[in-house]
């Protein structure tokens, strides 16, 4: 890209010629502080006792470090963690795996095969990226009801996979274009079947981008509230953690903030671990590999 260099006749008032270094540091510090404080508040609150919380803000934990783990015991009861954790996994893991498989297959066809209607399919996919999911609530509720799937976890898979597949194909397709065509063509000439070709040669090459897609979908699926709320319902005994936490939060008045904060903390441990542990893939996937995590 050509960039017009500033054609300034010696700037008249170069006020900001050099921003003092300390200003840069202060601005960064302020933003990092604002971004970290809510998480710190959550952890601090989840460790405090109810009387303490009623008496002063969470930051008082640094003045009067009285710490308890009771909130976590209570929160895991209230969230019915035994069942809700399994439900959350039963939603997020299949959604992630299915999204990755279906996107990989579709992207392979769009990037490496030539056929009529290809451009149309791709444009349709890009268009569908912009569809607000709320559009599908009523029609799919009715459809799932007719099919006898109402309230089941499978409905959440269908929705989450369907809404991420356009994005997934888009992401993987772009990555496939960066691979050298010769690699695949050579194997094709060797007479390998398309299926073997995909699994033996293409799949190992696109693993990084599939990992990024998997992380994104896992985070999104784990954290999703709308889909289970709509298709499974608040009273569902298989309700996932987000749903339990949302109901708990909306009726918290009698329970105290500490248990709710502990519940929130419990719900973010796994996604946080995934994000931090797999940061390299996450960052590389979003930035197309140009930024090291």
């Amino acid at each position: 890209m050509s960039v017009a260099l500033p054609k300034r006749r010696k700037a008249k008032i170069p006020i900001l010629t050099r921003v003092p270094r300390w200003v840069v540091h202060v601005v960064i510090f302020v933003f990092c502080a604002v971004w970290f404080t809510p998480l710190l508040a959550m952890v601090a609150t989840s460790l405090r006792t109810n009387p303490d919380t009623a008496a002063g803000g969470w930051w008082m934990i640094f003045v009067k470090p009285l710490v308890t783990l009771d909130n976590f015991t209570r929160a895991s009861d209230l969230l019915e963690l035994n069942t809700s954790l399994v439900s959350t996994l039963a939603i997020a893991v299949p959604s992630t795996i299915l999204t990755v498989i279906i996107s990989a297959f579709g992207a392979y066809a769009l990037a490496r095969m030539h056929f009529r209607g290809k451009a149309f399919v791709f444009i349709l996919l890009v268009a569908l990226l912009a569809i607000p999911p709320q559009l599908a609530i009523t029609p799919l509720l009715q459809l799932f009801g007719h099919l006898g799937l109402g309230g089941s976890i499978a409905t959440v898979w269908i929705w989450q996979v369907g809404f991420t597949v356009p994005f997934g194909i888009f992401l993987v397709r772009g990555y496939l274009f960066t691979l050298p065509e010769e690699l695949i063509e050579a194997a094709r000439i060797d007479g390998a079947s398309e299926f073997r070709l995909f699994f033996q040669i293409v799949l190992p090459l696109i693993t990084p981008i599939l990992a990024s897609l998997a992380i994104l979908q896992f985070l999104w699926s784990w954290n999703d509230l709308l889909t289970p709320l709509v298709f499974m319902g608040v009273a569902n005994h298989e309700a996932p953690i987000t749903l339990q936490l949302a109901s708990l939060f909306q009726t918290q008045s009698g329970l105290g903030q500490n248990s709710v904060a502990a519940g929130a903390f419990i719900s973010v441990i796994v996604p946080l671990a995934v994000l931090i542990g797999l940061q390299r893939y996450f960052v590389a996937g979003i930035t197309g590999g140009s930024l090291k995590g």
Binding site: P6, R8, P14, L16, R18, V24, V27, I28, F31, P38, L39, A41, M42, T53, G57, T83, V86, S87, A90, V93, P94, I102, A109, L110, M113, V121, F122, L124, V126, L128, A130, I131, P132, Q134, L135, I137, T138, P139, L143, I153, I158, F163, V165, E194, N223, L225, E238, T242, L245, A246, F249, A261, G263, A264, F265, S267, P271, I276, T287, L291
Partner: protein, 326 residues
Amino acid sequence: MPSLIALVVGAVALPAVTILIVAAAEWVISHLRPKAQRRVRPWVWLSLACIMIAVTLIYPIVVSLGLSLRGADGSAWAGFTNFIWAFGTEMRPILLNNLLWLIVFPVGVTAVAVLMAVLLNKVRYEKVARVILILPTAVSFTAAAVTWRQMYTYAPAGRTQLGVFNAVLQAFGIEPVAWLARPAGADQWMNNLSLIMVAVWASLGIALLIITAAVKAVPQELNEAARLDGASEWGVFLHVTLPTIWPSVLTVITTQIMFALKIFDIVYIMTNGNNGTDVVANKLYNEVFRNPTNLGHAAAIAVLLLVAAIPVLWLNLRNMRKEGLT
């Protein structure tokens, strides 16, 4: 435990089936003539994606269009009454709230992302700082709502403030603010801004990564040349950095606009639309699930969302054309 069965079925059996379907179809078409093979093969590999998309996207669009012209229970013909309602007095403040979201949220996220990407590029601890800014990406809006509502806690002036913002204000002798709980009316924009702040906090991560990658791709020589020319720090940003990263900025803005259009979780959990903070998606949810349900109204809202998404969709396509992706 049914969800345990679902986990096993969904994580092992279904993926195996999807792979087997493609494998079987491949085996079948391998018996065709090469020309026919080439014609059928792409659709075999795309079939699963096409089915999912047809069920979750195409079918609902068609049905919603039909429902939007029908009555509350989805049977009697209603003409355009639902759309007249959708622009009526009940919906107008809600549409205005969404408009506020549509403007403030993308601008907020993009501005913070650009500022932080540029500044972090100048310091040595950039990685640590970036991780801190990205952490909220892993936090669900539900959990975000829990901790932010506590941060926004309000008590009348002079009392012990339990919310961190009001504690700071009071420490400086400023009147505490009811961040989320101002009565609907002239002050309700404040409640909305408080909600938007939560969304900005939670959504910064991915925007920051995209823009950081773009900032790092700005050729160093350009910066140097501009500096030698006597350009100020601000001049370099305005004339060199910003034009170079502009495509990425556009990508981020369009993504955030789409997000603002369908914002639901934060509003549903934190205020449930009270105090003049209702948004279109929450209203849609209430039209479907709260008494009295009105499927016609819900569908009309859904169609409005669809129509509002069209400009973004067009922008998406145009961007892609430019980058030669289609």
